[in-house]
């Protein structure tokens, strides 16, 4: 009787070879399912690319926080543009709102609204 003199490593590699030599049967439907998924993802990608700028803009507004945020954003944008272009002198109306006749009445060089004198 011939004694088996293979090393454990050699024996183990026989097992690995056995595992590699027989591959599991692949269901032919699997490839079709995978390619169907690929088509679905493709269509989604195409529809995303084909969206008009208006749809993207609507999405942007939605992300901004809906109608109230959009209105506030638009108002502040218009105000900013108006102030930027026309630089209106609003010192008098603002002064009347806070009961000061003129900004010139305020002495900016002295104590702040004479508050220092309280202490």
């Amino acid at each position: 009787m011939v004694k088996n003199k293979r090393t454990p490593t050699e024996e183990l590699s026989n097992f690995f070879e056995a595992a590699k030599s027989s591959s599991p049967i692949i269901n032919p439907d699997l490839e079709a399912r995978i390619l169907r998924d690929a088509d679905i993802v493709h269509n989604d990608l195409n529809s995303l690319q084909n969206r008009s700028w208006f749809n993207n803009f609507l999405d942007f507004l939605k992300n901004l926080g809906g109608v109230p945020s959009t209105v506030c954003f638009a108002t502040s944008l218009m105000m900013g543009v108006y102030i930027g272009f026309y630089s209106p002198d609003w010192s008098e109306p603002v002064a009347s709102l806070i009961y000061i006749n003129s900004f010139e009445d305020i002495n900016f060089t002295g104590s702040f609204l004479e508050m220092n004198e309280l202490y």
Partner: protein
């Protein structure tokens, strides 16, 4: 090395083509990678339906990631192995909890016509022994010796250093040898 680099670039090109709307790129990637990925999933999970689901899910993730695929990323196959490996881990945990993990035998015998039965014995013995190994050792051994990936690829898949992979593989193999030696006498056949 040159071949693997060329293959990597080819796979990247296929991913880019798919993202640009080329359906044939998807088909080519599927034909190239699906058998390996499916086999890996099958030998990890032990049943065809789970392996199919996991393979399909991994490829779906691949299609979704295609538009943002970067050239400097890993090889497509390595990326897929990583995904499928994680999916198998989740699935395996679930099936183990449900107690349904059992190996079916839908093996393609046409690839080993000469010694089909002995090969099947060896294969069954190997997977039974591997199921005893800790998860990380089992994965490292499978990726290295059955899926035939390189240590750097395995390190990338398992998120470990190359040295850690080498150590895991070596320990796994030592343990496998021991288990198979005991099985040898228990099963009563000489597989050496």
């Amino acid at each position: 090395m040159f071949n693997s680099l060329r293959k990597k670039n080819a796979d990247h090109a296929l991913m880019a083509a798919f993202a640009d709307g080329d359906r044939r790129a998807a088909q080519q990637l599927t034909e190239q990678l699906m058998p390996k990925i499916y086999a890996h999933a099958y030998y990890r999970l032990g049943n065809t339906s789970d392996a199919e689901d996991v393979t399909q899910e991994a490829f779906l993730k691949l299609w979704k990631v295609a538009p943002n695929w970067k050239q400097d990323k890993a090889e497509v196959s390595t990326w897929l192995y990583r995904v499928v490996s994680n999916l198998c881990k989740d699935r395996y945990r679930r099936t183990t909890l449900e107690g349904t993990a059992s190996m079916q035998e839908p093996i393609d015998e046409s690839t080993s016509p000469t010694s089909g039965l002995e090969e099947q014995y060896r294969q069954k013995a190997l997977y039974t022994a591997m199921s005893v190994l800790p998860e990380s050792q089992r994965l490292a051994v499978q990726l290295r010796h059955i899926d035939e990936l390189t240590n750097p690829q395995i390190a990338e898949i398992m998120d470990l250093s190359i040295e850690a992979v080498e150590s895991l593989t070596a320990r796994g193999k030592r343990k496998l040898s021991k288990i198979l030696q005991t099985q040898k006498s228990e099963l009563g056949y000489n597989y050496g």
